[in-house]
Symmetry: C2
DNA sequence: ATATGTGTTTGTATTTGACGAACGATCACT
DNA sequence: AGTGATCGTTCGTCAAATACAAACACATAT
């Protein structure tokens, strides 16, 4: 503990990082008491106590009896962030219509930090019952095995895709998941060529999804949409074609409306 | 800088507080650049830069071009928190049914840090059109002028209500808002006696709401529900009685189901 | 070209948080 | 009831982590 004095830039604030360690621990543990957290994080009780007190004063943590939990403040801020997203504002009603028209699950997703985040999801009539999708706990997930994810990857700059693969690798989920760089880049080119993406049981066995990207007028991909359902139904030729048509069409509608609103805007890059 | 050495407990970590100052500023400003934030927060550029870099490393902030924004990480954590809430899990489908049956807006709310937070809201058929409610930006709001809020206050311990009034006061919103302590406590007693709360244009002119609390088997209030609509419709005598019936009934159903799941649980107090 | 703006980097002074021990309260067990 | 362990909380102290300001590289505008 004597050599590395690297005060390299950017200088990340350890106190802030530790505060978020506490947040993550409270999430993992579904709430915890001081001692429990202290053990979990390898910190002294008094230190943990101070972090919790601060987070509570900031209203991001609540205390019930002696148990500390994350507060709904995260939801309030989160819904603000989502509402700021133009793809969400414009896409939500369109996705609802898509779900109603097709009767399947419909998703609206975007990319952040190299992972996919669902902005919104609805289940159509046929999908009801096995609603493991809509009520599933939201996590940011890999982009390379979902229809929405691959639609996004296909329209991200190559060097950005490379960076994402370097960061997260290409972990498999089912036997169909694409796990090699070459295969993925080929697939992405196919997606670009035909205008839509396909997730053929690559994430969940038995589930197929059809996705399409939404880009702004500078060609930057803002996110993507998809419909998904059981392979048996999704693979029927005429139905399949019909779904592709609906998805691509909805993506286009969203795209047009987004670009009309984004007239006087900057065109940001990433991360 | 020589007198006040008060190191009172709990010792709140200034670095963490400042990180959340940055978060709040990014929300207020809808994203900002380094210099803009530094001015807004009265901090030096380099300091702000370090906070932003740290928040970005933690994935709670994204950088687009030179503008920093809050990330969807807040939404992911927020949805986790919401899903942890048993009132949400049980109440969501019931509220949906209530909205469908009545055709009005239905809300599911809870209390946190002395303020009301909507866990969920749906609009029934009659409510469509003026959906200023469903797409409105979520904020934690005062409890004393909403039907859900008053239903909660009515079942909180008196000392807790006192604390809340001391903290936030009783700001008026319309001419009908209750703004004095005595009036409020009277109202709360009425609510307890008759089993439901009424918001008669106390929050928004022209809008009436009927609310009912949901308590667990220890008598602690977990939250509340409400339906709301235009006064003209809501005040029709038979319809009014019918809505009260529906709201109270739905609250009871939720209550029963929550208490069946909460069998082996602690009974926490507040904040 | 020059001046003013940006975001970022770095050296340094000192504020601030980590540590460990101690306190008071609660709970479990004999 | 009494004893011991364990909990959350408080506090004094020193090392470490952060705030500051000045300088940097780069861009844009005059």
């Amino acid at each position: 503990m004597a050599d590395e004095h690297t005060t390299g830039s950017p200088r990340t604030l350890k106190t802030v990082s530790r505060a978020f360690d506490v947040v993550r621990a409270l999430e993992e543990l579904d709430g915890a008491r001081v001692t429990e957290l202290a053990n979990h994080l390898d910190l002294s009780k008094s230190v943990v106590y101070n972090y919790l007190s601060t987070l509570r004063a900031e209203k991001f943590v609540v205390k019930e009896e002696d148990t500390y939990r994350l507060s709904l403040q995260f939801l309030l801020v989160g819904e603000y962030v989502r509402y700021q997203n133009i793809l969400y504002r414009i896409g939500k009603p369109e996705i609802e219509e898509l779900a109603e028209k097709t009767g399947e699950y419909a998703h609206l997703a975007t990319e952040q930090h190299g992972l996919g985040v669902n902005l919104y999801k609805v289940s159509g009539e046929k999908a009801v019952g096995s609603d493991y999708q809509v009520n599933k706990l939201q996590r940011a997930d890999y982009l390379h095995f979902s229809a929405t994810g691959k639609a996004i990857l296909a329209h991200l700059p190559k060097e950005r895709v490379e960076w994402i693969i370097d960061q997260y690798g290409l972990p498999g989920k089912t036997e169909a998941t694409i796990t090699t760089r070459e295969e993925l880049f080929e697939e992405l080119e196919t997606i670009r060529d035909r205008g839509y993406s396909l997730n053929d049981e690559e994430e969940i066995k038995g589930l197929q999804a059809i996705g399409a990207p939404v880009t702004n007028r500078h060609g930057r991909v803002l996110g993507s949409i998809s419909v998904s359902g059981p392979v048996r139904r999704m693979k029927q030729p005429e139905y399949h074609e019909q779904l592709i048509e609906s998805v691509v069409n909805t993506a286009n509608v969203i795209e047009v409306n987004v670009n009309m609103e984004e007239s006087d805007d900057d065109f940001p890059t990433f991360s």
